[in-house]
C-alpha cells in the first residue's frame, strides 16, 4: 500500500520546482512522477482509522518502501497488536504475528482479503502495475471546480491490462500538483470507491497530502483514513532491509 500511496502522492506533485511548466500532457506528468519514484525509497509513520458497520479501529504504523517492489509496514499501536508486520516483496505477501511469533505467507486465494481489516485489499498492496503501465491517460478537464483550478484525468485500461476497473478518474490541483481525489469505476460506469486527499502539508521536504481516505460506495458509512505524521524520502535502505528476518524484528 505504501508504494501505491506514495505513487499517488507523487503523481500529484512535482518535486523539482524548476521543472514546473504549464504542460498539460498527462503522460508527461505521470512519467515525470514515475521517474522521480523509481529507485526512490521512503520511511513514514501514519495512523490508519477504519470505520465499518460493525466496528471502528485506529492503528499507528511505520512504513518503509523501496521502489515499486518492496515495502514493509509495522504496527506500533494498539499495544495488543504492536509488532504485527506485513512484508511485500515481488508480489508475495507475508504477515508476521508477534503474539505467536510466526510468519505466514498469504496464499493467492486470500489476496482478495482486506489488509488489516481496512478497505484496501492485499491485492491493492502488491499490484505491481503502475498506473501508466496499465492505463491510457487522457486529460478530460482543465479548469475551475469550486474556485480551484484543476486538471481531471481519465485513465482507461490498456487492452490487455489485468485490472478490474472500468476506468479511473483523478483530479489534480494545478497550482501545487496535489491530487484531490481518485475515483474507481466499474465497466458500467458506476462509481465503486473513492479516494480523497486532504491536509496538504510539508513532510520530508515535500508537499504531500497528509490524509488519504478510501470510501466504498456500496457501504456509505464505512471508510479507511490514513494520516501521515512523519515522512522521509531517499532514506538509506536497500533490498536486504526487506527480508523475512527483518519482518520479525520488533523494532
Amino acid at each position: 500500500m505504501n508504494k501505491r500511496l506514495v505513487g499517488m502522492v507523487v503523481a500529484g506533485c512535482v518535486v523539482v520546482p524548476s521543472l514546473v511548466t504549464a504542460q498539460t500532457d498527462p503522460l508527461e506528468i505521470m512519467n515525470r512522477v514515475d521517474r522521480l519514484l523509481r529507485g526512490d525509497s521512503s520511511r513514514g509513520v501514519a495512523t490508519m482509522e477504519v470505520v465499518t458497520e460493525n466496528w471502528e479501529r485506529e492503528m499507528t504504523m511505520e512504513l518503509w518502501s523501496l521502489g515499486t517492489d518492496y515495502s514493509l509496514v509495522r504496527l506500533r499501536a494498539p499495544r495488543k497488536e504492536a509488532g504485527t508486520a506485513t512484508l511485500m516483496a515481488d508480489d508475495d505477501i507475508w504477515n508476521y504475528l508477534p503474539k505467536v511469533d510466526r510468519t505466514i505467507k498469504i496464499p493467492s486465494s486470500m489476496m482478495g482479503g482486506a489488509w488489516m481489516g481496512s478497505h484496501f485489499t492485499n491485492d491493492d498492496l502488491v499490484k505491481e502495475s503502475q498506473l501508466i503501465d496499465d492505463y491510457e491517460v487522457e486529460l478530460v478537464f482543465d479548469g475551475d471546480r469550486d474556485g480551484v483550478t484543476v486538471w481531471e484525468f481519465r485513465l482507461t485500461p490498456k487492452p490487455d491490462a489485468a485490472v478490474v476497473w472500468g476506468h479511473i478518474e483523478y483530479q489534480v490541483q494545478q497550482d501545487n500538483y496535489m491530487p484531490l481525489w481518485t475515483r474507481f469505476y466499474d465497466e458500467d460506469g458506476d462509481l465503486s470507491r473513492t479516494m480523497t486527499y486532504s491536509d496538504f502539508s510539508e513532510l520530508g521536504g515535500r508537499l504531500v497530502p497528509a490524509v488519504m481516505e478510501m470510501q466504498p460506495v456500496d457501504k456509505p458509512g464505512e471508510r479507511t483514513a490514513i494520516t501521515y505524521q512523519e515522512l522521509e524520502f531517499d532514506v538509506d535502505i536497500d533490498q536486504s532491509f526487506f527480508s523475512l528476518r527483518n519482518l520479525q524484528r520488533q523494532r
Partner: protein, 420 residues
Amino acid sequence: MLESPWLRIGWRNLGRNRKRTTLTALGLAIGFAANVLLVGWVEGLQAEMVESATSLVNGQIEIHDAEFRPDRSMFDTIGGRAGVDVDALLRAVDADTAVVAAAPRVYAGGLVSSGEATSAGMFMGIDPARELVLTRFLDQLVEGRLPVSGQNELVVGEEMARQLSAAVDDELVVVASGADGSMANDLYRLVGIFRSGLTELDATFAVMPIGDLQALMVLPPSRIHEIAVATTDPWIAETTALRLRDTLPGVEPAIEVVSWDVLNPAMVDYVALADSMHFIIIFIVFGIALFGVANATLMATYERRREFAVMLALGATPRSIWSTVLSEALAVALVSLVIGAGLIFPVMVWFHNAPPDMSWLLDSDVTLMGALLSPSLRVEYNPSFWLTCAVALIVTAVIAALYPAFRAGRTPPADTLSGL
C-alpha cells in the same frame, strides 16, 4: 364361514398333495419375504441418507438469527449484538419432548498454517459434550482426541491435515478476523483428526471449543451463531420446529427455527420418489408369483375333477365348487404368509440391529444427494407396508385361483365320472 364345509374341505385338500402345496406356498412366501426385504433395504438406504444429512454435522433443526442465512456474517449472532442467555435458550430447547440434543455453534473464516503450508479454513466452535450427542462426525476420530476448553487445542479434518502436512501434537497458527476488526491470531495444538467422509468438511473445517473461538474472535460468551438440534426422528423435525418457534423465549432481533427439509428440499423429493417405487416392486413380484399359483391350482383342480363331479352330481352348486377351490387358495395363502413371515422377520430383525457390512463390495464411500452412505444392508421396519404385502399375497393367491375355480365349477359331472 368357518363352519362352512367348503373351508374345511379346502384345508383338507392342502394336505392332499403336500409337495405341491409346499412348493406353491414357498413361491408365495418367497415373494412376500422378498418384498419385505427389498423395501426394508431401500428404506434403510433412505434413512441412512437422511440421517447422514442431518446427524453427521448439521442436526435436524437449526436455530439462527433471521439474517444469518445465506451470507453467514459473523456479526449476525442470535440476539444481535447483545447476544442471548445461551444456557437458558438451550434449556428451553432441551425441554421439548421431541428434542434429543441441542448444541451451540460459533463460526468464523480464516487461515490455518502449519510450518509448511497455509490453508483457508472455516472454524467451528462447539460444546464437545453436547456435540457428541448431537452429531456423529466427531464420534470416531481418525487419530487423537477431542479438544479441551481453555487449552488452545483444536481438531481438523483429515484432508486439511494432509494439505498442511500436520500430525497430532503439531502446532498450528490460526488467523481469523476478530469482531472488533483486529486480525485475531493464536497458536493451537492439533489434538485430533476427524474424517466425516464428506471432502468439503474434511478439507476446510477446524473445530475447537466454543469458548476458545469466542475468545479468539473477541466475541462475548453470549454471542453464538447457531443452535443445532437433533430430534428423535428426522420426520418430525418440521412439526418440532414449528412448536419450538412458538415456545422459545422471545429474542430480539427475530430468530428463525428451520428444519432440515426446508434446508434440503431435494432430499425430501428423492425420498418421495423412492416411496412411490414400492408399489412397482409389489406388482412385479406378485405378478410373477401369480403364474406359479395359477398353474398349481389348475393342476390341483384338474386332478380332482372326479371329486368335483361327484359333488356336483350330489347336488352341489358350481358356486360351492368355487368356494372350495378359493378357500384352498386362501389356505395356501395363509400358510405362505406364515412361512414367509417366519423366514424373513428374523432376518429383518438381524439386519436392522446388526446390519452386515457391505464394504467388500465397494472401494469407497458413496454419496447420495450430498449425504454420505455407509455400505451396509441396513433395513428399516415399515409395518404398514408389510400389511400391504400380506394383503397382496392373499389377493394374488385368490386371483390365481379364480379361473381354475370357475373351470372346476363347470366340470361336466356325467362325462367326468364316466371316464372321459
